[in-house]
Symmetry: C3
Subunit: 357 residues, 3 copies
């Protein structure tokens, strides 16, 4: 492990594995007011075109005050705040669980975030350990906009430091239906599927069904860097070519969240009516992506979920798989050796809301 | 013609030539609220710097409520909506006619669009046909912001499908002066040409006069991709390097509208007082542009137009020619063989408003 | 000196050395309303994450009406306006002095700018001369937002033109403490250093102390071009690869102001509480930067300044040094030959405000 001298101590080295303790609360820096400028950039960087996030008029017809910001933009903003405290010294972002999207975020809302350490386990190498945190993003009224668990492999400052008593959090397989939040006031009786871009509503999908989203996008360095800076995510691997040249890949790594956003935008072609992300049940960045990679995606309906008390609206549990440099046709997933197909870069299990007939 | 399997039928293949019929109306998806974020991106991506679109104070001095969005930003937003329904399976965008800019668009306005098929003609190859549509963009009050005709060469799904009875629309050479819309309330008596950046007003231009705009801009992949995604234009040729490698050029093609915007921005140097695009009379993308190309432009005054009832304001019909990898000096247009000079990428015939002395 | 023909005279060649005269006032074009869109782009292009500029809630807690735009965004907007009149024919941007940041700029404010020629001196080569101007940016209420002196080496149109009587302005070493403007209503008693991202306040810094900011960012062509166009800075060297290929470096040069913004953003790691730029005392672009360069930075505290009548707030005079393709560790500055280390691209002397304990 290379240590850089911080001569004066003013520069933050941030937390290593031994700096975390069970129950510890970390209040993250840089509260952020989100604006229509952020949404415009998100659209330009990802190609998002879901009607609800594109049009105030469409949003008002559904009972909301104006177009809410894209759900994954909110995710990345909250995630970005956690990076300096949780994962600046991480080797790998291992997974997500129990991610619930709360109240929608509108232009002018200010988000801040905090995390609680809920799991700690040193690895057998003694060089790293797994830290599990529950992170919560709230708006200026204290309402939760996002709540999720993630676990990361973090370097130890000193491999010789004693191992903590392992704490293993209980991680549910998926977000329970009673935890899915339908935005207050949402009424899809006036939902216009023509304007939304697809006639396929909740009733038309079947569990097991697979959809090739067909479109694909090639990533440029400037794009992923701009996106990641927009989220004020400071992980060095995304920005510093000089350091990256000495590293494992010899180049900058694309923020995994950018791949999530591209997969979501590509999914419009087939899932245009999946107007709201309700939850992330789990997710895995199967391989890193780099500038020059072309990202395609396919999805599978894992489950059709009836929402208690709602006849206008259902939920779909989806698996979206993002691929690099390979089309989605054929739905590649596992390689011949049983491991992930090497083209798979993302395997995301999440839940969306969709109008019913 | 290569067909990709859409296993579940959820992914839209969109319209092929035989899916169009005369009089057919297509209502396009994704209504869009435009914001100051979109304008900021447009400025950053194109270099636009016309005072009316840059300053609320300047706009108010001319009787408008605030700075309207750039006219070509509005054009690209409306155009982008038509792409999935009209030109996703197009081989070429052949031309524009009768394009009139209606009421100005302000931040907060929501645009939607529809198209009517007004022409259909199969090509002799039987593999493609020409589809002509009239597309209209409206704001949230139902006011027309843009109305134009374009024709595209679209692939047939099945070359053996029967040819429709040819319908040939009547296309005027130019937008008639009585169809030119002057924004309501516009009063240029307080127009400040010093702030606008040039002392050359309508009276100072002569028909036939040519202007080398001198500046030039080199296009990057990230720039044209971001611009095209901002417009929610989903044509695959602009984004998917993997597919492009198997195609005719082996690389991504820059959206032709991005070249229009660059030519317009470059024209500031000489035409800074052309504060409003009133019409596009015709236009041709003479050759494709690619990342790495340096775009320059020159313009010629085709006609000086007196606007009935206005002594403060006149119109100029202009031809702007955009070039790749060649300066505008010398006004390149036709090559030695009588065809377009190979450097010409755009030949646009349009009408602008400009204050009179 | 190459002259390009401007056939009609409509295209501005702008000012050469002999076009300037002492006391001359140049009123610059393109007034600009700044918006949250501009701020979002600034964040995405530079990585800025100071809490005051990121959060309306944080700003209100300090007595301001909302989050002001980043100070260097304001600087670049004003600077950009001066380029067409002052430095379009400049060979080099030589230096800055006496730069004072006035009232904060908020989304919706409209800035315009003017410059007065305060110095003129022909160089011995007779091909160029040094022009010194004092430039002032004001908002829509006529309040000064920025006031600074810069000097540039400008080409003569005609080397044989007679030399003007040299006028040498008096340039102070630094902005005097009585000229430092604290934003009206600012009250840092509720300053939350946890949200700001660092526990190190004014009291914790010592004159002479050096800080390696550790982070680094690699510049892409699309990024510096977008930033420079956002500022409506039209200097051709940043955009035109075709012309650049025939020039001294064979490639586009990054706008020096983009390096200032990157150095400022990188300085967050160590100086997160330097929430406001109050002044630039002097600055030098030691070497050009190009796309592909990785920028790192370090800073030194030159002076701790007590602000008269304020016990809640102090100022720090800082030197920030930006480096290309070399980390800040070791604080590189002078090379072995006594000249600048070749990695140094910026040496900026400026003054920031910071809360006291």
């Amino acid at each position: 492990m290379r240590a850089r001298n911080n001569v004066t101590g003013k520069t933050a080295q941030r937390n290593f594995f031994e700096d975390f303790s069970p129950g510890q609360v970390l209040r993250h820096a840089t509260p952020r007011t989100l604006t229509t400028g952020d949404q415009a950039l998100y659209t330009a960087l990802t190609g998002s075109r879901f009607a609800l996030h594109s049009s105030d008029v469409f949003a008002r017809a559904l009972g909301l005050p104006q177009a809410p910001l894209d759900d994954f933009l909110v995710f990345h903003i909250v995630f970005g705040k956690t990076v300096p405290d949780i994962s600046l010294n991480a080797v790998a972002n291992l997974g997500y669980a129990s991610c619930v999207f709360g109240v929608p975020v509108y232009p002018g809302d200010t988000l801040s975030a905090a995390s609680t350490v809920i799991g700690l386990k040193e690895n057998s190498s003694r060089e790293t350990g797994v830290v599990t945190v529950r992170s919560t993003g709230v708006n200026q009224n204290g309402e939760t906009v996002l709540d999720y668990i993630r676990w990361v492999m973090v370097k130890k400052r000193d491999p010789g430091a004693p191992a903590p008593t392992p704490v293993m959090p209980d991680l549910p397989d998926s977000v329970a239906v009673e935890n899915i939040a339908v935005p207050k006031g949402l009424d899809v009786s006036a939902y216009d599927s023509g304007l939304a871009g697809s006639e396929h509503l909740w009733d038309d999908f079947e569990a097991g069904e697979r959809i090739d989203h067909m479109d694909a996008m090639t990533i440029e360095e400037a794009e992923h860097q701009m996106a990641t800076r927009l989220y004020q995510n400071t992980a060095r691997v995304h920005f510093d070519l000089l350091a990256a040249k000495a590293g494992r890949f010899g180049k900058r790594i694309v923020y995994g969240g950018h791949i999530i956003s591209l997969a979501r935008a590509l999914s419009f072609n087939g899932l245009a009516n999946a107007f709201r992300i309700a939850a992330i049940n789990g997710g895995r960045h199967a391989a890193p992506s780099f500038a020059g990679d072309t990202i395609a995606a396919w999805s599978q309906v894992l489950e059709k979920i009836v929402l208690p008390g709602r006849e206008d609206l259902g939920a779909l549990r989806l698996r979206s798989v993002a691929l690099k440099n390979q089309p989605g046709a054929g739905f590649p997933l596992a390689g011949t050796d049983g491991k992930s197909d090497p083209a798979v870069v993302l395997d995301l299990d999440y839940t969306v809301l969709m109008p019913r007939r």
